[in-house]
C-alpha cells in the first residue's frame, strides 16, 4: 500500500494527531459517495437521498477513529461496512417506512409465522388473507405499500429489530469477522436468502432468485413470470416478510 497513508495512520494511532485525522477523513471521503448511492437504491421516494451522505460521514469518522491497522483488514472494506451501518441505523431511527405501514407489515409477518408453524409450509395468499381477516385485494394492497427492494429492507430482515443477533445469522459458517460489531455483509445476506428460499412457495422462490441472484428488475421478472410488475412487488414483499419471520423465529 501507499507509504504516505501508512505514515498518516501511524501519526494518528500513535498520538491522535488532529491534522492526520482530518487528512484521513478527506482521503477516504469518496467511499461515502459510493455507499450512499447504493443504499439509496429502491428506497421509498419520501426518503431524502441527499441526507444519506451526512449519515455516511458519521460512519466514516467512526471508522477512522476505531480502525486498527494491526488487525490486517483493509481500511476500505472496514469503512464501507461502518458507513453502510451508519446510514441504515439513521434511516431506521427516522422511520424510513412510515409507522402505519410498518405496523401492517408486522401483522403480515406474524401471520406468516403463525401459519407456517401450523401448516408446516409457506402459506398461500388466500390463506394469509384469511388469517389476517382481510379479503385478497386488501391484503395485496397492504403488501404493495411496503417497498422492500432496498439494501435497508434486506438488512432489517436479516438483522432483526433489536441488536440481539438472530439465530440464523449465528449459524452462518464463517462469522469469523475480526470485528464483533460487524453487520452481516451482502455475501452473507445472499447465503441466508439461499438457505431459506427452499421453504418459500414456487412463485416466491422464483422472484427471490431472479431478483437477488440473477439481477433482474421487478418489471423483467414480471415478463418472465407473465404477471404485472406490481404483482411481482407484492410477491417480493411477502417473501422478504416471510424471510424475516424465519430469521427471527
Amino acid at each position: 500500500d501507499d507509504p504516505e497513508l501508512a505514515a498518516l495512520w501511524q501519526r494518528f494511532s500513535a498520538d491522535g494527531d488532529p491534522q492526520a485525522r482530518e487528512r484521513l477523513i478527506l482521503q477516504y471521503a469518496p467511499l461515502v459517495k459510493y455507499v450512499a448511492g447504493r443504499v439509496s437504491v429502491g428506497l421509498p421516494s419520501h426518503v431524502e437521498v441527499a441526507d444519506l451522505t451526512s449519515y455516511g460521514m458519521f460512519g466514516l469518522i467512526d471508522a477512522v477513529e476505531r480502525y486498527d491497522p494491526a488487525r490486517g483488514v483493509r481500511f476500505e472494506s472496514y469503512a464501507i461496512q461502518r458507513i453502510r451501518g451508519a446510514i441504515i441505523d439513521e434511516l431506521r431511527s427516522l422511520d424510513w417506512i412510515p409507522r402505519s405501514v410498518r405496523s401492517k407489515a408486522r401483522q403480515v409477518e406474524e401471520a406468516l409465522q403463525d401459519l407456517e408453524h401450523r401448516l408446516g409450509r409457506s402459506p398461500g395468499e388466500e390463506e394469509l388473507a384469511g388469517e389476517l381477516g382481510m379479503d385478497l385485494d386488501e391484503m395485496r394492497r397492504t403488501l404493495s405499500q411496503v417497498a422492500l427492494t432496498s439494501v435497508v429492507a434486506l438488512d432489517e430482515a436479516v438483522g432483526g429489530d433489536d441488536e440481539a443477533r438472530s439465530p440464523l445469522v449465528e449459524r452462518l459458517p464463517d462469522r469469523s469477522s475480526p470485528d464483533p460489531e460487524a453487520r452481516v455483509d451482502d455475501a452473507e445476506m445472499r447465503r441466508l436468502l439461499a438457505t431459506t428460499v427452499d421453504e418459500l412457495g414456487e412463485r416466491e422462490r422464483s422472484v427471490v432468485v431472479l431478483y437477488y441472484f440473477e439481477g433482474l428488475t421487478l418489471a423483467q421478472i414480471g415478463e418472465v413470470l407473465g404477471v404485472t410488475e406490481s404483482r411481482v412487488s407484492q410477491i417480493h414483499s411477502k417473501s422478504v416478510l416471510a424471510l424475516r419471520g424465519k430469521i427471527a423465529g
Partner: protein
C-alpha cells in the same frame, strides 16, 4: 442459456469494478474542485469538514430514475489491483492541503479525463449488460417455469 449467463456474470463483475472506480474518481474530482474554489473565494465557511464533505459528495437527482435492482454494497472483489486505478486510491486527497494552484489544476484535469473515460466505458458495458439480461428474460419466458427452475 448457460453461455449467456456466463457472459452476463462477467459483465456484472466488470461493471461492479468500473462503477466503484467511477464513484471514487467523481468524488475526488469534486473535492479537488471545491478546494480550488475555496482558495479563490476565501474560506468563509465555518462548517465542520464533515458537513462540507457531505454536501460535496451528494448526487444531484438523476435525469431518469432507474428501476430498483439488487445491488451489493461490498467493495468489488478485484479491488484496485491495476496500476491505472492508482488515481482513485493513492494518497492524492490527503495531500490536497499541501498542493499549490498549478498542482491542483493538473490534478483536476487528470481526474476529469479519467472520469470521462471510465464513464464512457461504463455506459458501453451497461448497454451490453442490459442486452444480455434482455436475452435471458426472453429465454426464461419462452422456456416456462422449467427454465427458471433450472437456476433456482
Amino acid at each position: 442459456a448457460a453461455e449467456v449467463r456466463a457472459a452476463r456474470d462477467e459483465c456484472r463483475a466488470e461493471e461492479a469494478q468500473l462503477s466503484y472506480l467511477r464513484r471514487l474518481l467523481q468524488a475526488r474530482l469534486d473535492l479537488v474542485r471545491a478546494e480550488q474554489r475555496r482558495r479563490r473565494e476565501g474560506d468563509g465557511s465555518t462548517e465542520a469538514l464533515s458537513e462540507r464533505l457531505a454536501t460535496l459528495l451528494a448526487d444531484a437527482p438523476p435525469a431518469s430514475r432507474r428501476e430498483a435492482r439488487a445491488v451489493s454494497v461490498d467493495p468489488p472483489a478485484t479491488h484496485m489491483r491495476r496500476a491505472e486505478d492508482r488515481l482513485a486510491s493513492d494518497a492524492t486527497l490527503a495531500r490536497v492541503p499541501d498542493l499549490d494552484e498549478d498542482a491542483l489544476a493538473r490534478l483536476a484535469s487528470e481526474l476529469a479525463d479519467r472520469e470521462q473515460e471510465i464513464s464512457r466505458r461504463r455506459r458501453a458495458l451497461l448497454d451490453r449488460l442490459d442486452r444480455l439480461q434482455e436475452e435471458l428474460v426472453a429465454r426464461y419466458r419462452d422456456g416456462g417455469t422449467a427454465a427458471v427452475d433450472a437456476i433456482v
